[in-house]
């Protein structure tokens, strides 16, 4: 494998679309003008379970500007019985208006389309829908484990090795603790939005999503169209975090554009996103660790339960987090689901790893305390040589290097391990650490690179830049492979007509696209004769990485990291303030240090937010989320976020042509545990339920 030679990769580069973003010129999905545009407004159910008996469309159709009302009685048919590009069927709430069943509060029951958004909104809010209501059940708790069942997701549900009871009996120390995490919502800053129209016999959709190849494929399947007859564009995307796939808004826009034969835009409101855009399921987890007196693990048992809807199975594989982390004679992990009358959860930044690492890395901190071993030393003692469950070799594993570098920079050596002994005025101070890991995956992609007659190069790759800096990273990768300066490279992304490519998800985007771009660019460079004229149409080389990726040997491929946090806790008010965080990562080759640092810190901010703020509470009476908006659902704001540093150790992936592993998710993993462990160190109280709210700190008391 060759690595790039010109040094663009690895050097800080401001975003190539940066000027457009700071001047407001960058247009997001709802901002592309269309002549004759109509506006759709979704109507969501006000009951949590039952049937739609009737939709009183007459009164609403007479309102000014109203063009149509789509509902289960008149909507075009769609086919949702397919497995899409990512190996899963679509969320049933996106297969709009195909039957009269209501599966959860906020189930889409109608789409009102009008000339203006004001007219559509008023008509949607005036639409009377009659329901036959049935009793609903949204009460998730650990107590429901017996009703649940294991489910394989992107990881197997269950992995078992060794005799649990026997090894527990042989353990000198046993930690047995239960943990919970609440419903969490992605809340990308840009709400889901799509405009659909028929143009020259093709369906043309301008959307905000994490992969237009993926979304175009789903729409072709849903509407039984030739894939070549669907084009989806998504140039600038205001965040995704796992929520931006096929959802009700695109399907509604396509239906209305088909019925009305004019362009229709559907934008979710922030409140609708709490019913229609997916979320991270609450989890109830139990971790049992058995160890020798010196902290060497004999038992690692991790069981997790999450909720899903009655219409779709989704597992949050929280228990799988430990399978690649720590060796133990008996290693038992299982992720289960229980079905309730709730919306279907989905992938959200580090699905499985984020809540799973909170439980597992908190339990390890408890074990360190019980054994009287430093938490970092405990992890060193349990470092495996090969995959603890799989037995496969690691691609590269530099976890301990992260801890050593982090400990040095954080000042860990001076830490007094005793909890509850540091005071500064009204504050109790503490520090904590935790490990992070996330799979380093890759998906097949195609790319084309063209040498233009004017001496520039055009890269065509259907990547999605949802804030990751992918457009810029790919510019650097292409420049190095072509051996030209970055300003001669133009990268076009976000258009399904560019050809199939991986999505921005699972931390695989930049790695998958870079592989394809580098392959095409190198092929082009080899084929160009120095000094020869380039024809007006340019010279193009193409790549498809499917075969090379299929030939990758099976290994434990992961990014790793060490998280550190310092907190201050006011025992009189229960307030927890994070004072500083440091994350050191071994996450493959870092393409653009400027944007990579920002993204890793962003993940750590998510971890802080998960530890202290984020919680959607489901009302058992209505079945919906209380305060389903950004005032009721707290995400970390400026004043919550201290100076946070992220850095990395050298860790190029030996089997990736550019050396990339992916960095989108590793930043959140372990971060909440580091904060919770620091709160214990400050107060002497373990917090096993997130978020660590002031009332929980007060109720738990402490050494104050």
């Amino acid at each position: 494998m060759t690595t790039a030679t010109r040094g663009a990769v690895g050097t800080a580069h401001t975003r190539v679309e940066g000027r457009d973003k700071v001047t407001g010129a960058a247009r997001y999905a709802a901002e592309i003008p269309f002549a004759d545009l109509a506006h759709g407004w979704l109507v969501l159910s006000t009951v949590a379970r039952g049937r739609v008996r009737a939709v009183d469309t007459d009164a609403v159709l007479g309102m000014p500007g109203v063009l149509t009302v789509l509902h289960h009685g008149n909507a075009p048919r769609v086919d949702s019985d397919f497995i899409g590009m990512l190996g899963v069927p679509p969320d049933p709430s996106a297969a709009l208006f195909q039957h009269d069943r209501v599966a959860h509060l906020g189930w889409p029951v109608a789409l009102v389309v009008a000339e203006t958004s004001e007219q559509a909104r008023e008509a949607a809010e005036s639409l009377v829908v009659h329901y036959e209501t049935e009793p609903h059940d949204v009460a998730f708790s650990a107590g429901r484990e017996s009703e649940g069942y294991p489910l394989d997701g992107h990881l197997p549900a269950v992995a078992e090795k060794g005799d649990l009871a026997d090894r527990l009996a042989a353990s000198a120390v046993v930690v047995d603790a239960e943990y919970t995490t609440p419903e969490e919502y992605h809340n990308p800053m840009e709400p889901h939005a799509a405009t659909a129209r028929w143009e020259g016999g093709r369906l043309d959709v301008v959307d905000s999503n994490q992969g237009t190849s993926w979304v175009a494929g789903e729409l072709a399947n849903l509407f039984s169209l030739d894939p070549a007859a669907v084009r989806v564009r998504s140039e600038h995307v205001g965040g995704g975090f796992g929520s931006k796939g096929v959802r009700a808004h695109q399907v509604g826009a396509v239906m209305a554009a088909t019925v009305l034969q004019r362009p229709v835009r559907v934008v979710m409101t922030r409140r609708q996103m709490f019913s229609l855009a997916g979320y991270r399921s609450p989890t109830a987890q139990r971790v049992r660790l058995g160890a020798d007196a010196d902290g060497r693990l004999r038992v690692l048992e991790h069981r997790s339960l999450n909720q899903t809807s009655t219409v779709h199975e989704f597992v949050e594989p929280s228990a799988a987090a430990g399978r690649s982390m720590y060796a133990a004679d008996a290693h038992h992990t299982a992720s289960r689901i229980v079905r309730l009358d709730v919306p279907t959860p989905t992938w959200m930044r580090a699905p499985g790893e984020a809540p799973g690492s909170f439980a597992l890395e908190s339990a390890l901190d408890e074990l360190a305390e019980r054994c009287g071993v430093d938490p970092i030393e405990l992890r060193v003692r349990n470092e495996p040589a090969v995959g603890p469950v799989s037995g496969l070799p690691f691609g590269s594993r530099n976890l301990i290097a992260c801890f050593r570098e982090g400990a040095r920079r954080f000042g860990w050596a001076e830490r007094d391990p005793r909890p509850g002994v540091r005071r500064e005025g009204r504050w109790l101070l503490g520090t904590g650490t935790a490990a992070a890991s996330f799979p380093a995956g890759v998906g097949p992609s195609t790319a084309a690179v063209t040498a233009e007659a004017d001496g520039t190069f055009t890269v065509r790759i259907n990547a999605a830049d949802i804030g990751t800096g992918a457009r810029t990273a790919l510019t650097l990768v292409a420049a190095d492979a072509l051996e030209v300066p970055t300003d001669r490279v133009r990268v076009r992304i976000g258009d399904s007509d560019l050809g199939p490519a991986m999505i921005a998800g699972g931390s695989t985007g930049t790695r998958s696209w870079s592989w394809a771009v580098q392959a095409a660019a190198e092929e082009l460079r080899r084929s160009l004769v120095p000094g020869a004229d380039i024809p007006p149409e340019g010279i193009t080389a193409r790549s498809n990485t499917a075969e090379a990726i299929g030939a990758l040997a099976q290994k434990e491929r992961h990014a790793f990291g060490a998280q550190f946090a310092e907190v201050a806790v006011d025992p009189a008010t229960g307030e927890v303030r994070v004072r500083r965080m440091l994350g050191i990562f071994a996450a493959g080759r870092i393409v653009n240090p400027l944007t990579a640092r920002n993204q890793l810190v962003g993940g750590m901010v998510w971890g802080l937010s998960m530890a202290l703020h984020e919680e959607a509470v489901r009302d058992r009476a209505s079945g919906g989320v209380y305060g389903a908006d950004l005032a009721g659902y707290h995400v970390a704001a400026h004043a919550d976020v201290p100076h946070i540093e992220a850095d990395w150790v050298d860790d190029p992936d030996p089997d990736d042509p550019v050396g990339i592993k992916g960095i989108g998710e590793i930043g959140i993993v372990g971060a909440a545990a580091a904060v919770a462990n620091a709160v214990w160190h400050a107060t002497g109280v373990r917090h096993r339920n997130l978020p660590i709210r002031p009332d929980r700190v007060l109720m738990a008391g402490g050494d104050a």
Binding site: G24, P33, E118, M189, G239, A639
Partner: protein, 178 residues
């Protein structure tokens, strides 16, 4: 005759006058985005909770989703499209670009408009909840990271680019006094 549900009005945006007929229900935010094609101002929540729609109204920062277009007549409105001087970026814009004060960019116009006003509010001596000494004679407090964070807290960034946003605001503020 049914009561009229729309009005003719003139909006003054970025120094230009726009005459249009608006539905009375139209917010200033929707008027900018849907009617004037000034889509730089973003809609993150449409209910005053995120700051993505922050614009300057008569020089003061204000969320455009919580005011009606008809109430904005006679005010001088500045949006993200109006803060640069021609090709020369405003120092706050330049600092966001150089220091990577964003990721997806969707909160960015609101953050930048807010930051421009924060620097002016601070220079004019306005205290914040993070200000230790709020007596008028104490003068403007140092614009520390804590001050910037407190004053910028109405602008959410879900990408979590807060650390580099604060650095960008601090740099632009330093340039403003230099």
């Amino acid at each position: 005759m049914p009561p009229s549900t729309s009005s003719d009005l003139t909006l003054s945006v970025n120094g230009e006058k726009y005459t249009l007929t608006v539905d009375h229900r139209t917010t200033l935010l929707d008027a900018l985005r849907e009617r004037l094609d000034l889509t730089g101002t973003k809609k993150g929540c449409d209910q005053g909770q995120c700051g993505a729609c922050t614009v300057l109204v008569d020089g003061r920062r204000s969320v455009a989703c919580l005011q009606l277009a008809v109430a904005a007549e006679g005010r001088e409105i500045t949006t993200i499209e109006g803060v640069a001087e021609g090709e020369r970026l405003h120092p706050v814009q330049q600092a966001f670009l150089d220091l990577d004060g964003y990721q997806c960019g969707y909160c960015t116009p609101g953050q930048i408009c807010s930051a421009i006003a924060v620097i002016e509010e601070h220079a004019a001596g306005w205290p914040s909840a993070a200000t230790a000494d709020v007596r008028p004679e104490a003068g403007p407090p140092p614009l520390t990271p804590e001050e910037i964070r407190e004053r910028m807290s109405g602008n959410l960034c879900r990408c979590g680019a807060y650390v580099s946003i604060v650095q960008a605001v601090a740099r632009a503020a330093e340039e403003a006094v230099a």
